[in-house]
C-alpha cells in the first residue's frame, strides 16, 4: 500500500504544505453579506471595467491570484504550478487568467467542488516533492453562470425556493513547502455519486449524498469524529442540502450537526438577501475559505477544520436529455499547527 494512503480513499500528507497566503475578490451583493469585512476586494460593479461578464470573471480570478502573490512578494516565476477551474464552458475564466499569468497550468473542472479539487492536487504536488510553491484558484460569476445555465438576466421568471444564487467571487490560495501554517494535512477525494435527483433548481439535494459519502469515508478512513474538528464546512449545499447531508451522516452513526456549516449559508444573509436556499458556485467556497475561514485559522479562532467543496456535474445539455445530476465532493483537512 502506498505509504501516504490511509483507509480507502484518504491520504495523510507526510510533508504537509503550508498555506502561505490567500486573496479574495467578490461582487457587490456578496459585499453586502455577513462576511463583507473579510474579503480583500469588493467590486462596486460586477463588470470590473470589462466589456462582458465572462471577461470580468476571468479578471477577478487573475487579480485574486496576483493579489495572493503580492501579499508575500512572490513573482509568477517562483510558482511551479497553477491549478484552477470555473463553471464556464471550456473553463475559459481559468485558462484566460493563466494566459496572462504565465505559470504552468492545470485546468480543472469539478463544478463547485473545484476549490478543494485544486487545493488537493496543489497540496499533493508540494507534498510529493514536485513543487515548492503552487496556487489553487477558482471563480464564479452570477451573471455569466445565469446566462449559461438558466435564463437571460432580463427575463421575468421566478426562482423556486430550492434554487441557489451563484456567487460572484474568486479566491486564490498559495501553498508552499515551507511556512508557518495553517497546513493541509489530509485529503479525501470524492467519488461521483448520483441518487437520481433531476431538478436543476435543487442542486443542494443532488450534491448532499456526495458530500455525506466523502465525509463518512474521511471519518472512517482516519478514525476521526466530529470532536476532532472545530468546523466542518461544505461548499455549497446551501440550506436544504446541508440538512439532508447532516441527516444522512447521522443515519450512518456520526453526529456532526453542531460543527457543520456550509459556505453557501455563510456568505449571504438568507432572510434579507433573497437568495432562497443560499449561495453556490466555485467562487463561493473560494471566497468564504480564502476570506473568512483562513483568517479564523490565522488568528487562532479555529485550529482544525475540514473543507468539503461539493460540485453538481450537470450541463444544460444533460438536463435537457433527462439525465439526473451527479454530485461530487472533495474533502481536505487544514490544521493551524502541526504539534499533536
Amino acid at each position: 500500500m502506498a505509504e501516504k494512503k490511509m483507509g480507502l480513499h484518504t491520504i495523510k500528507l507526510k510533508n504537509p504544505p503550508s498555506i502561505l497566503s490567500t486573496a479574495t475578490i467578490v461582487g457587490p451583493k456578496e459585499g453586502e453579506g455577513p462576511l463583507k469585512d473579510y474579503f480583500d476586494i469588493v467590486l462596486e460593479d460586477d463588470l470590473f471595467g470589462e466589456k462582458s461578464w465572462e471577461k470580468a470573471e476571468s479578471k477577478m480570478l487573475r487579480e485574486a491570484v496576483r493579489l495572493a502573490m503580492n501579499k508575500i512578494n512572490l513573482s509568477p516565476d517562483q510558482v511551479d504550478y497553477f491549478f484552477a477551474g470555473d463553471l464556464l464552458n471550456q473553463i475559459i475564466s481559468s485558462s484566460f487568467a493563466a494566459r496572462e499569468l504565465g505559470i504552468p497550468f492545470f485546468g480543472l473542472y469539478g463544478a463547485c467542488s473545484t476549490l478543494t479539487e485544486a487545493m488537493s492536487l496543489a497540496a499533493m504536488m508540494v507534498d510529493g516533492g514536485f513543487a515548492d510553491i503552487t496556487i489553487a484558484a477558482t471563480s464564479s460569476h452570477f451573471s455569466s453562470a445565469e446566462r449559461q445555465f438558466r435564463f437571460p438576466l432580463e427575463h421575468g421568471n421566478q426562482r423556486p425556493p430550492t434554487s441557489q444564487w451563484t456567487v460572484t467571487g474568486a479566491g486564490a490560495v498559495v501553498l508552499g513547502r515551507e511556512g508557518k501554517g495553517p497546513y493541509v494535512t489530509y485529503i479525501t477525494t470524492g467519488r461521483v455519486v448520483d441518487f437520481g435527483i433531476k431538478d436543476a433548481n435543487n442542486m443542494g439535494a443532488a450534491m448532499a449524498p456526495a458530500a455525506a459519502d466523502t465525509i463518512l469515508r474521511h471519518l472512517k478512513d482516519t478514525g476521526f469524529t466530529a470532536a476532532d474538528y472545530d468546523l466542518i464546512m461544505t461548499g455549497d449545499l446551501a440550506k436544504i442540502g446541508r440538512e439532508i447531508a447532516a441527516d444522512i451522516i447521522k443515519q450512518n452513526g456520526y453526529d456532526i450537526t453542531t460543527k457543520f456549516t456550509d459556505a453557501g449559508i455563510e456568505i449571504f444573509d438568507l432572510t434579507t438577501q433573497d437568495v432562497h436556499s443560499g449561495g453556490s458556485g466555485c467562487g463561493c467556497s473560494a471566497s468564504v475559505f480564502g476570506g473568512y475561514i483562513y483568517k479564523q485559522l490565522i488568528n487562532g479562532n479555529l485550529n482544525r477544520i475540514m473543507i468539503i467543496s461539493t460540485g453538481a456535474l450537470l450541463s444544460p445539455t444533460s438536463t435537457q436529455q433527462g439525465e439526473s445530476i451527479p454530485g461530487i465532493a472533495h474533502a481536505i483537512t487544514i490544521e493551524r499547527s502541526l504539534e499533536k
Partner: protein, 119 residues
C-alpha cells in the same frame, strides 16, 4: 367600466391557472407558454375561446392563449376565403402585428440597452 372588470377577471384567471401549474409541476415559463398557445389554438378552433373573448375582451386576447386563438381564427377565416392555402397564410397574418413588433422592438431594445445584474 365593466370592460375593465371583466378584462381583469378573465386575464387574471388565465395567469393564475398558469401560476398554479408552474408551482405544482415545475414547468419552466417557456413550456407553459407553448402549452398555453397551443391550448389557445385548440380552444379557438372548437369555438370555446370565442365566448371568453366576448366577455373578457383584452382580458382574453392579451394573454398568450389569445394569441393562439387569433392564430386559429385567422387560419379558419382564410380557409373560408382562399381554400387550403389559407391554412398556411391565415394564422401568421392574424398575428403578424404582434410577431413583427416583437422582432423589431426586440432588436431596437438590444441596440439601446444592456442587461443589468440582479441584486
Amino acid at each position: 367600466m365593466m370592460d375593465y372588470i371583466w378584462a381583469f377577471l378573465v386575464g387574471g384567471s388565465i395567469c393564475m391557472i398558469a401560476q398554479i401549474l408552474m408551482d405544482k409541476t415545475n414547468l419552466t415559463p417557456a413550456r407553459i407558454l407553448v402549452y398555453f398557445v397551443t391550448a389557445g389554438v385548440i380552444l379557438g378552433a372548437i369555438g370555446v375561446y370565442e365566448p371568453l373573448v366576448k366577455l373578457g375582451k383584452a382580458g382574453a386576447t392579451v394573454p398568450l392563449p389569445g394569441f393562439g386563438y387569433s392564430l386559429a381564427k385567422g387560419a379558419i377565416r382564410e380557409v373560408e376565403k382562399y381554400g387550403l392555402i389559407g391554412a398556411f397564410t391565415g394564422g401568421v397574418k392574424a398575428t403578424s402585428a404582434g410577431i413583427a413588433a416583437a422582432v423589431f422592438f426586440g432588436y431596437i431594445m438590444a441596440l439601446l440597452f444592456n442587461p443589468k445584474t440582479k441584486n
